[in-house]
Amino acid sequence: METWTDFVIARYNYWIVIILMMLGLYTVFARGNLVKKIVGLNIFQTSIFIFYITIGKVAGGTAPIYIGDELKHGHGYGDDHGDGYGEDHGEGGHGADAAQGDEAALLHAKVENDPGVNDLKSAVNQAESAGDPVEAGSLHAEPDAAMKVANDQLSGLGKAPAAPEFEIAGAAQAPDGTTLDGAYGAAEILYTNPLPHVLILTAIVVGVAGTAVGLALAVRIREAYGTIEEDELEAMDNVAEFGDAAEAASGAKA
């Protein structure tokens, strides 16, 4: 029996989105300072980014990186392919753990081995079908069932998918990679839906461009008016307008 608190808590991500959205919009409308308005606009847009990322999340899904064949055929991470790249990354100590470096190496190697576009396409197809939105929708609607499905699918990992986003990184730290082989042998790989991420990368770029133009305008306004407070600007504009009208009226009479 689902109580209303469960209902609220199960959808916590949407509440965050709504709260941020309202905060942002309120800031845009309530603040008189032009820079604060831009900041409000940014908060508002950030809520949309989070909303899109929320859509793309598939409970228990891994990062949308194509890793099908290597793993199924028992190659370990980075053993054959990504030596140089992976090691450099690890030694450099860029804060990324070894597993992530290896993942990058794997992708690198993959591209080197199969440069064909067809493979990329099939990768996208697979990702699409794995992150099938109908399924995703139902997962969202019934979080309990979603966890169960995710549990079943990831049983080979032997871990509860408490933080599924980091699942692959965590599991990959196993030295020989056998856990993963087992997992992928037992179940189809469940990917997070990559498309919303890509979309929102685009939207972030658009948002940054908009912020840049807005701030540039604020600088120009400050140069031209000497202030960036909206009420003062409005007062000056009104004076300009009625001044014009008054001048014009006297000019017409003369």
Partner: protein, 501 residues
Amino acid sequence: MNLPEQLPVLPVVIPLVLAPISMLLPSGRAPWAWATFVSWLTFAACAFLLAAVEDVGVISYALGDWAPPLGIEYRVDLANALVLFLVSGIAAVVFPFAYRSVQLEIDARQAPFFYCALLICLTGLLGVTITGDAFNVFVFLEISSLSTYALIAMGARRDRRALTASFNYLIMGTIGASFFVIGVGLLYQATGTLNMADLHDRLAGQSNRVVDAGFAFIVVGIGLKLAMFPMHLWLPNAYAYAPSAVSAFIAATATKVAVYVLIRFIDTVFGFEFEFLGAAFTYVLLPLGLAGMFVASLVAVFQEDVKRMLAYSSVGQIGYMLLGLSFATVEGLTATLVHVFNHALMKGALFMAVACVVLRAGSHSIHAFAGLAQRMPFTTWAFIISGLSLIGVPLTTGFVSKWYLLEAAFAAGYWYAGFLIVASSLIAVLYVGRVVELMVLRPPHEDGPYAIPKRDAPLEMLIPMWLLVAANIYFGINTELTGGLAERAAEALMFTAGAGQ
């Protein structure tokens, strides 16, 4: 890979790729000449596309050869081929017109950037129109909007209010675009696709709160972009303080493209199976359209600034377009498409006439128009003829629009809307008549700030302007291209929307 196959992508690629070159050219005539050349190339591509679509019906182009619905699809049917033709046509006329006006109103240093931004704005508008992908619409919408903010702000050399106008437009425009993205996100959540045709298939029969909310966000978002009454407050100042050439270009194209997007989403994406749509028509679009027609037109009567008067009139004219759309009939949609086309012609010509006055008088205040008939006869007559077209006098395009709209109103049973259309046209007589009376009957100022030398605008401005005026008369007499094509386009749209069965 031959050129005809790649035709659908050319209207976007040509201006996008060639625009930055105008920034690299030395200032002077070169950037302008290059931009004009690019706009003509684009227009040629759009004209070929329209001709091709007329033969074939629908052209689908898979961008980067990624097949839809996964890849981005450019889908050209009659409706957007017509809008593409219109937008690129207006650009092809405005670019040659712009040189003298830009020379006066913008720093020579900024001129190359100005032409580059104008070309990118054109790219965005064409992209919005041509794409068949819902998210792609957002991207192109923002490409055009961001360059428009910059273009409007360049008016600051003459009047610093251009900066605040641009800033307000940026805030409202960004909120509008963000609302649109939320709507698209909700639709994606409900369907898992972004391709418009695919969205339509997958939305069929779906009626739940996710889709309803998506619809509401999209309508409000586009409503902000197209200045649907009462979300129009950014528009008058933006049009009034922008450089004259920019006013002429965006007044004729930007809101029209937004209207097209609204049509596309309502008819192609949602369709009449969507239960919420009827309510949206009856309780939102119809009353807001009617209110816009009256309130904005009435406000226009009391404006002291001719550019702002025309801007308010634009808001009123958008009311007509929404009205035609809200009838949910083939006739109504035809009227909307015809008016989109015709209103672009008349507003383009009117704003160009104002640009000519600004060139000579240095002001777009209504007082600068006194006695203009004696000083600048060609400009005056261009203004009068397009003004008559705005009112809807027979033998002009405005009459054709109003005729289609009236017919649609009575056919759909909204007889009271028919009377209101006529009544609001009478308001247009007031605001156009006010300027015409000043121009023709008053004596010109002999001295003072509004005195004008007896010298008409230069030929390079008169010729493009009179081309548009001639189009106003030509399409008022020969309605085969506009009326005929719009009707076929409307039939196709309504068929996909589900009214054809």
